[in-house]
């Protein structure tokens, strides 16, 4: 099932001209209504008339999270306050939170993209959707809520937490789909066991999970423990909230709703636009949003884009699961290295776990990269030649992915800190010298 066949299966050329029209109109709107953008464009000597097609997108400046903070709270709004019907805010881990506003049309558009997303997961008006994302300033709860209502499903606005109640409603109401964070879904699976819930009484068959990074391993685990098919939804409040892109049943990446959000992949260092298929930072331009349109917003998420008609029939570009944050990029001997690349290599190898540390140093003016990998109990061989062979195998896999030589050092289990943060993944000794 496809919610909006016209826009989701558009011929690429036709899509580009629709994007071009919308882009042109959006640039005009922000130029005349948002002093921040007008100043920025004037500094670069760009006038709204210079933007005619989607190809001209690359002439425009980037917008960053810092720009949102600098214009806190309403400085980037392109409509008068009386036209804003909703405000959401993300809790900033550092500094001020970022505020986003929506007009009535924005709320409708958001419901539309979430309805498209839910349809990808096979959800129809016959479904009962338990929305276990938090409701509030966070966009997850209300975003899924409006989309599910638009589809015509019965929505249970239970919000996050209260696990016992979640389990009770899954059973009593016969929820067929659940939307929450993947970590909460994994937790619910464990709770089902603890509470000894009879799974044959549950009707749950689909889960829509997003708002945090998760792995294919987690997907398999959730699918097994909840007895469902798990779908990945992507979004960020600055762009709209959940529903920027979503996996169809083919699960070959998340389809981006490009008629509303134009994606680009750039080299995070130079800002240069990269071709489809290359790894870089994801950038979005919102072309239909009224309250707070964004020009080339840098998400800092690293991924690749793929085009080509999907088996589901949609022509929308697909983005891979994000592999990390552009802030984490290291430049070693002129090569861009992301810790997440190391992680993906270790995840792919059956005899390693992704517990690693990158140690960057400088020896005779030449950067060196050492990657420490923990020896896992179950893969520990008591023979030197086998451990050496494992070390070489890790090394050659890393070299081919990173594009530069890395020395692998095997370390004892549990010696590398367990954390997702950059600080614990990288030790850059070059900065100390």
């Amino acid at each position: 099932m496809i919610w909006n066949e016209h826009h989701e299966c558009m011929e690429r050329g036709q899509l580009a001209s629709l994007q071009g029209e919308r882009l042109k109109a959006m640039v005009e709107r922000v130029y005349f209504n948002v002093p921040f953008y007008r100043n920025k464009l004037q500094e670069m000597g760009i006038e709204p008339g210079d933007i005619r097609t989607v190809e001209d997108l690359k002439l425009l400046p980037f917008t960053t999270k810092q720009d949102l903070r600098d214009n806190y709270p309403f400085g980037l709004f392109a409509v008068p306050q009386q036209d804003v019907v909703r405000l959401h805010a993300s809790s900033g881990t550092t500094g001020k939170s970022t505020v986003v506003g929506y007009t009535h049309n924005d709320i409708m558009m958001w419901a539309e993209v979430v309805a498209r997303s839910l349809t990808m997961a096979g959800i129809t008006k016959s479904d009962i959707v338990q929305v276990a994302y938090g409701y509030g300033l966070f966009t997850g709860g209300l975003g899924l809520h409006y989309g599910a209502e638009k589809v015509g499903a019965s929505v249970i606005p239970i919000s996050g937490g209260n696990t016992k109640k979640q389990l009770q409603l899954l059973e009593d109401f016969g929820s067929t789909a659940i939307a929450c964070t993947p970590s909460y879904a994994a937790y619910l699976g464990e709770a089902l066991d603890e509470e000894k819930v009879d799974r044959s009484k549950l009707k749950l068959r689909a889960g829509i999970f997003g708002a945090e990074p998760w792995t294919e391993e987690m997907r398999a685990q959730i699918e097994k423990s909840l007895g469902i098919k798990a779908y990945d939804i992507y979004g960020l409040s600055e762009v709209i909230g959940p529903g920027v892109s979503m996996e169809c049943s083919c699960q070959k990446g998340m389809h981006i709703f490009e008629d509303h959000f134009i994606p680009e992949i750039i080299n995070p260092e130079s800002g240069e636009v990269l071709p489809y298929g290359e790894l870089g930072e994801l950038v979005f331009t919102t072309v239909t949003k009224e309250a707070m349109p964004l020009i080339r917003y840098r998400t800092r998420d690293l991924t690749r884009l793929h085009v080509g008609t999907c088996e589901c029939g949609r022509t929308l570009a697909r983005m891979e699961k994000c592999v990390g944050r552009s802030d984490d990029m290291l430049i070693i001997r002129g090569v861009n290295v992301f810790p997440s690349q190391v992680e993906s290599v270790l995840l792919e190898m059956s005899e390693t776990r992704p517990h690693y540390l990158l140690v960057v140093d400088r020896d005779n003016n030449l950067d060196t990269l050492e990657i420490q990998v923990e020896v896992e109990d179950q893969f520990f061989s008591d023979e030197v030649k086998e451990l050496e062979a494992l070390r070489k195998r890790i090394g050659s896999n890393l070299t081919s992915i990173l594009g530069l030589h890395a020395t692998v050092r095997l370390v004892e289990p549990g010696t590398i800190e367990r954390s997702m943060g950059k600080a614990q993944r990288v030790v850059d000794k070059r900065k100390l010298k």
Binding site: D377, F380, D382, V384, L410, V411, E412, P413
Partner: protein, 142 residues
């Protein structure tokens, strides 16, 4: 006749071995024999210790990568050709040795720890040639 040997992965950093021997001492575990195979970065400590299962447990609890491997222990008299004969028997029977190390158990004989991928066959042929093998109980108490 199969002896449980403990193998422990060790990073080459100061104090690590002392930490390990300390843990074993605290748990009243005796080390009968050991050897270390090392490279520039890491080492593998192989040892015959009393209460091997307990030793494995406490070391794992303390964050060591530990593996129990099967080895055989053979007594070799302290005289020329003693070891040679034993190795000849193994080689004649197509049994290859992954590694071995020896320790002196008494003044007139040495005990050799042998790791092979065919421990049962090794036991069989060595016994056939009247070589003395140690039982688990003997070794853990040495």
């Amino acid at each position: 006749m199969i002896i449980k040997q403990l193998s422990v992965f060790l990073e080459n950093r100061a104090g690590r071995l002392t930490e390990l021997t300390g843990i074993l001492a605290e748990n009243d575990i005796n080390i009968s024999a050991f050897s270390i195979a090392d490279t520039a970065d890491f080492g593998i400590l192989r040892m015959i210790a009393g209460k091997p299962e307990l030793a494995e447990k406490v070391l794992k609890e303390n964050g060591f990568a530990v593996k129990i491997t099967d080895v055989i222990c053979m007594t070799v008299p302290h005289k020329p050709g003693g070891l040679h004969r034993a190795l000849q028997i193994l080689s004649d029977n197509g049994i290859s040795i992954e590694y071995m190390y020896a320790f002196a158990a008494a003044a007139d004989q040495a005990t050799v720890v042998i790791r092979t991928d065919m421990p049962l066959k090794a036991i069989e042929v060595l016994q056939l040639h009247k070589l003395e093998l140690l039982k688990a109980g003997d070794v853990y108490q040495l």
